[in-house]
């Protein structure tokens, strides 16, 4: 660094570091407590390093009481299916709205705006009744179907496609490409930054979602990570913090690692999409 440490900079760095410590505190205590045994936790000491390392015992408990592998697998399946469906449905629609002459464009825009306003919490009751009538509760279908349409995705891709030069599409048309071919071979490759941003937004939102899985899933074998953790808490009667912290560690880790590996893309994705949950 070429700049010298002025009092102002020292002050700023101190503030930022103190704040960072406070924001990291939950993670620090999570890792520390996951390695403590019951008696040490109840001695309420502030020491961060466990006296007797109980990591193995706590992680064994966490891994055996609720099938963590199953939870993480469910999370991957549900988020993966949702993302693929959302992109496959939203990209052609956004392309049609942005680049094709289309009588229903206004009507579509109204639908998208309505969709942006109405969250899953508002449509959950009728959807639940419908899934119940169709005997579809406790299934991947129930977990995935309501999110197969992402108006937010349509909105995001629409902005992106509008900024795309028309010449690109004309050239493809003159080459004799069909509209479906244009979407698959010209639009999607060029929309990659938007798709990545949307993917991050979508996966973070659905990996973390508790509300909808809680409603449609009562059977543990379909539980997603947040729901599984809730089941685990119920099974542990809440007070075995060592095992509980081990379980939270296992469940938090995948997304946090993904974030740390691709943090630039994450931040870009969230900024670009500007929305969550």
């Amino acid at each position: 660094m070429t700049q010298s440490l002025t009092p102002g900079r020292v002050f700023r760095l101190t503030l930022l570091s103190l704040g960072a410590l406070m924001f990291l505190a939950p993670y620090i205590f999570m890792v520390s407590t996951a390695g403590k045994d019951q008696s040490e936790i109840f001695s309420a000491s502030l020491s961060l390093i466990p006296q007797h390392f109980a990591y193995v015992a706590n992680f064994t408990k966490a891994l055996t009481r609720v099938s963590m592998q199953n939870l993480l697998l469910n999370g991957v399946i549900v988020c993966g299916l949702i993302l693929v469906l959302q992109v496959v449905v939203a990209v052609p629609c956004a392309y049609a709205m942005a680049k094709l002459k289309f009588g229903a464009a206004r009507f579509m825009m109204a639908l998208v705006m309505l969709g942006l306003l109405v969250p899953i919490h508002a449509t959950a009751l009728p959807l639940y009744v419908a899934f119940d009538k169709l005997s579809l509760l406790n299934s991947y279908t129930a977990l995935v179907a309501p999110f197969s349409i992402s108006v937010f995705g349509i909105f995001l891709f629409l902005q992106f496609f509008r900024a795309m030069p028309d010449d690109l599409i004309h050239a493809a048309r003159l080459d004799g490409m069909s509209e479906a071919g244009i979407v698959a071979r010209v639009i999607v490759p060029n929309a990659w930054p938007a798709v990545t941003a949307f993917a991050i937004f979508s996966v973070v939102a659905h990996w973390n979602d508790l509300f909808w899985p809680l409603i449609v899933v009562t059977n543990q074998s379909y539980a997603t990570p947040p729901l599984g953790l809730l089941f685990f808490r119920a099974a542990e009667a809440g007070d075995d913090y060592g095992a509980l912290m081990a379980a939270t560690l296992i469940i938090t880790l995948p997304l946090v690692v993904a974030f740390l590996l691709a943090q630039k893309r994450f931040v870009e994705g969230i900024t670009m999409t500007g929305l969550k949950g």
């Binding site: 660094m1 700023r12 760095l13 930022l16 704040g19 960072a20 924001f23 939950p26 993670y27 205590f29 001695s43 309420a44 502030l46 449905v89 052609p92 629609c93 049609a96 680049k99 094709l100 002459k101 289309f102 229903a104 579509m108 998208v112 309505l114 969709g115 109405v118 919490h121 508002a122 449509t123 959950a124 009751l125 009728p126 959807l127 639940y128 009744v129 349409i149 509008r162 003159l174 509209e179 979407v183 973070v204 973390n208 508790l210 809680l214 947040p226 953790l229 809730l230 808490r233 939270t248 997304l255 946090v256 993904a258 974030f259 740390l260 943090q263 994450f266 931040v267 969230i270 949950g277």
Partner: protein
């Protein structure tokens, strides 16, 4: 809408073909929007006028009875009030902290990526899991927070277990979780401010950093701030995960929040009609927030 200038776009058949293709490409999306957004929204409004309960075969229309019951329902009123208090705490604090941290990071060349990562980490973490960690931190007797306070001879409260503090406890978690998100949006807003404005201000005699913030940064951040505010309010009103995981609305309904009350009424007690009326109130709140945002956007904060 987009102009398309095909070499043969004058031809009517080509135009009709284009519209057909457009319909074809958009039809899955339209169908799903009708099925999963429009129909359920209409259904929830209609159900709000019925006494529908899951498990009973028949239901009847009861007019405004559900809404009349809502007005005198103490749980629902408590829930609305708690949600308001929670929002009134979390929104301003997380905006001010988000902006403050963004300004500090922007001004400080060292450790930019590191600090951004740290403050953003809670946004990317599983909230249900981190709420469990917070429950431990907040534990009245063995929790690190109260143990820490005890070092200074302060007797910490039973954060999530006492009706007088539970909303504050949840608010702290809410703030911790949302500051990073606001910070990232403010950082994007700050980068978009043209550097020349600062030099121009300096030429005009704006010297202190406080004046620079007041005269250049703050006004230029107007659209970002409005956007951040709207999203923060909406996300606060939607608080659910922490309530469900940590308090179940307790103790003594002190942490009943809107979405949790709807969840409880509709999916636990299965009173779908009544819960639908609550949902309509929730939707109305969202609509009002949206309208307020557009009003503001039109009047106040357009510079470009």
């Amino acid at each position: 809408m987009a102009e398309v200038a095909l070499p043969f776009s004058a031809s009517e058949t080509a135009g009709r073909r284009e519209a057909q293709i457009a319909w074809l490409l958009a039809s899955p999306a339209i169908l799903l929007m009708l099925l999963f957004i429009v129909l359920p929204t209409i259904a929830v409004i209609v159900l709000g006028f019925t006494d529908f309960e899951l498990g009973y075969g028949s239901f009847r229309f009861v007019g405004l009875e559900n809404y009349a019951e809502l007005i005198s329902d103490r749980t629902f009123r408590r829930s609305l009030w708690n949600t308001t208090v929670y929002t009134a705490i979390v929104t301003p604090v997380s905006i001010v902290l988000g902006l403050g941290i963004a300004l500090l990071i922007e001004a400080e060349p060292r450790g930019r990526d590191f600090f951004r990562t740290v403050y953003f980490l809670p946004v990317a973490s599983l909230l249900v899991a981190m709420a469990t960690v917070w429950q431990y931190l907040f534990h009245p007797s063995i929790g690190p927070l109260n143990t820490f306070l005890a070092v200074f001879g302060i007797l910490g409260p039973n954060w999530l277990g006492a009706s007088s503090t539970v909303v504050y406890g949840l608010s702290i978690i809410g703030i911790w979780q949302s500051v990073g998100f606001n910070m990232v949006l403010f950082l994007a807003g700050l980068t978009a401010i043209p550097r020349e404005l600062y030099s121009a201000a300096e030429v005009d005699g704006v010297k202190s950093s406080i004046d620079r913030f007041r005269l250049v940064t703050w006004p230029m951040l107007g659209p970002t701030t409005l956007f951040v505010t709207t999203i923060s309010v909406i996300n606060s009103v939607k608080v659910f995960e922490t309530v469900k995981t940590l308090t179940e609305g307790g103790p003594n309904k002190a942490s009943e929040m809107l979405l949790f009350t709807i969840y409880q009424e509709g999916f636990v007690f299965l009173r779908v009609g009544y819960a639908s009326a609550m949902t309509v109130v929730f939707l109305a709140i969202l609509v009002v927030l949206m309208i307020l945002q557009y009003r503001f956007l039109d009047r106040q904060v357009h510079y470009t």
